[in-house]
Every structure is written in structure tokens, then in C-alpha cells.
């Protein structure tokens, strides 16, 4: 399946690519194939580039140590995502950085007319990341994680459900609310 998050291995042979220095091992290929997706997930979950860098390093180091335990029951991508999600959750718990939403905050998108059918417009590409981060930070952690996982075209609804301990139908049901909440928050970032 074609994914916009990761690029084909064949297109990643230049020395400036993220895997430079890791050698041509199976692990280096794993890193090349999935580091972008894992780093992006860590970045948007932790809201901090330095923490995301540390987390990505730690996730792949854990993966390296546990590679012999991988049984192939899931895809490598799903396996790495699971390590990353658990790692980020542990970090957030340790840092007391959970963004608990009040009822009043939640009411913002409950009462705001849904505009998910209209295109989301941005004028400056450089601001896009900052606005996305602001909007994601305002979401409940579950919605944030769902949107980030569903955006990865390599993952099916079933795989997203497995990663978030719920059924694919539950994922589909919550996605509507997550999209609406994101759209409302994103439009407020202008």
C-alpha cells in the first residue's frame, strides 16, 4: 500500500537520509522505513522536538533489543507504533503533562457548527506545523492519537483499533467527533 508518511526504500540511498551511519543491517532498513512515521507521532504526541528526538531514539533502541521477540503477528509498523505509544504515554505520565480538558473546553466543539466538510485552508506552509500542534494539543489524548494513526495510510482501521484497544467500528465512530473537534480548534489557531 502506498503511504505518504514513508517513502520507498529505493528512493532513500543518499547519505543525508535519516539512516546514515546505521549501516546496511536489517535494523537500518527498519529505521529507514519507519523513522519518519515514528518521529512524527512522537513529535505531535509530546509537542516538543527535543523530547520527540529522544523518544524516537529510545523507541528504536527498544525495538533493536526486542527484535528477536517480534513474531510477525503484526506488521513492523504496528509493532513500532505500539512501542512508541507506550513510551510516549509513560513520558507524559512521568512529566505530568497530560492535557486534561474541562467540560467547558469540550463544549467549544460540541456547540460550534461542524465545518469538517469545508476545506482546511492555510496560507503559509511554515505555520502549518505550529497550527496543527496547537490544535492537537487542545484535543483529548485519545482523539489526538486516533487522528495521527488514521492519517498513516499504512494502517487499517482494524490496526488502529488494535493499537488503541478498541474495535474498528469504535474507531470509525470516534473519528467523526475527533475530526470535528480538530477542525474547530484548527480554525481558532488563525
Amino acid at each position: 500500500m502506498n503511504s505518504i508518511v514513508s517513502e520507498p526504500l529505493a528512493e532513500r540511498e543518499c547519505p543525508d537520509e535519516p539512516h546514515a551511519g546505521l549501516g546496511s543491517s536489517e535494523f537500518a532498513e527498519l529505521y529507514t522505513e519507519h523513522s519518519r512515521a515514528i518521529f512524527y507521532l512522537c513529535l505531535r504526541l509530546l509537542s516538543d522536538p527535543e523530547k520527540a528526538e529522544d523518544a524516537t531514539h529510545d523507541v528504536f533502541l527498544k525495538a533493536f533489543r526486542k527484535m528477536d521477540q517480534f513474531r510477525g503477528e503484526s506488521s513492523w509498523r504496528t509493532w513500532l507504533y505500539r512501542i512508541a505509544i507506550n513510551h510516549c504515554r509513560n513520558l507524559q505520565a512521568a512529566w505530568h503533562e497530560r492535557h486534561m480538558l474541562t467540560n467547558a473546553d469540550e463544549a467549544i466543539w460540541e456547540t460550534t457548527p461542524a465545518r469538517t466538510d469545508s476545506p482546511l485552508r492555510v496560507l503559509e506552509t511554515k505555520e502549518l506545523g505550529q497550527r496543527i500542534q496547537k490544535a492537537l494539543d487542545g484535543l483529548p489524548p485519545e482523539y489526538r492519537l486516533l487522528l495521527l494513526l488514521v492519517a498513516d495510510e499504512q494502517l487499517s482501521y482494524e490496526q488502529v483499533g488494535a493499537l488503541t484497544d478498541q474495535s474498528a467500528d469504535a474507531v470509525r465512530g470516534k473519528l467523526h467527533r475527533a475530526r470535528k473537534a480538530f477542525a474547530v480548534l484548527f480554525q481558532k489557531t488563525t
Binding site: G21, A37, R65, L120, L148, R179
Partner: protein, 76 residues
């Protein structure tokens, strides 16, 4: 009633074309949240320092112990 302008018809057309071009080059529209996130992910580079740090960390790990025969026999 049409608003008066000091620009000629040709100048107006050129101005409109220019504005349209500027808008199309700087504005981006996404049809879904997921499309926006995918675009953002694609344009978010992975710091090269992660790979270098990983290489160091991996090289410092002790060699993996051989699996005991009982684990191979019983699985695990």
C-alpha cells in the same frame, strides 16, 4: 452599478491574474484532517542526529546471550 476604477480593462485582468497566481502559490487547501496531517508528516524531517545516537547506543549494547535450549524447546 459598476464601481469606477482608474485601471484599464487590461490592467484589471493582469492584476486579477497576478492575485490568483499569488494565492495559488501560497495557499494550500486540505480536504480532510488526515490529508493535512499526512502533508505535515511528509514535510517534517527526521533529525539526522537520531541515527547517529542510535548507532552509538547499539554499539555499546552487550552481545545478546544465546537462547537456552529449554527456551528453544518450550518456546518463549
Amino acid at each position: 452599478m459598476k464601481r469606477e476604477t482608474k485601471l484599464t480593462q487590461q490592467e484589471q485582468e493582469q492584476l486579477a491574474a497576478g492575485q490568483q497566481q499569488t494565492q495559488s502559490s501560497s495557499a494550500q487547501e486540505f480536504t480532510s484532517v488526515e490529508a493535512m496531517l499526512r502533508h505535515d508528516a511528509l514535510h517534517t524531517p527526521v533529525p539526522p542526529s537520531i541515527a547517529h545516537r542510535l548507532e552509538e547506543s547499539v554499539s555499546q549494547l552487550p552481545p545478546a546471550p544465546a537462547r537456552g535450549w529449554w527456551r528453544r524447546f518450550f518456546g518463549g
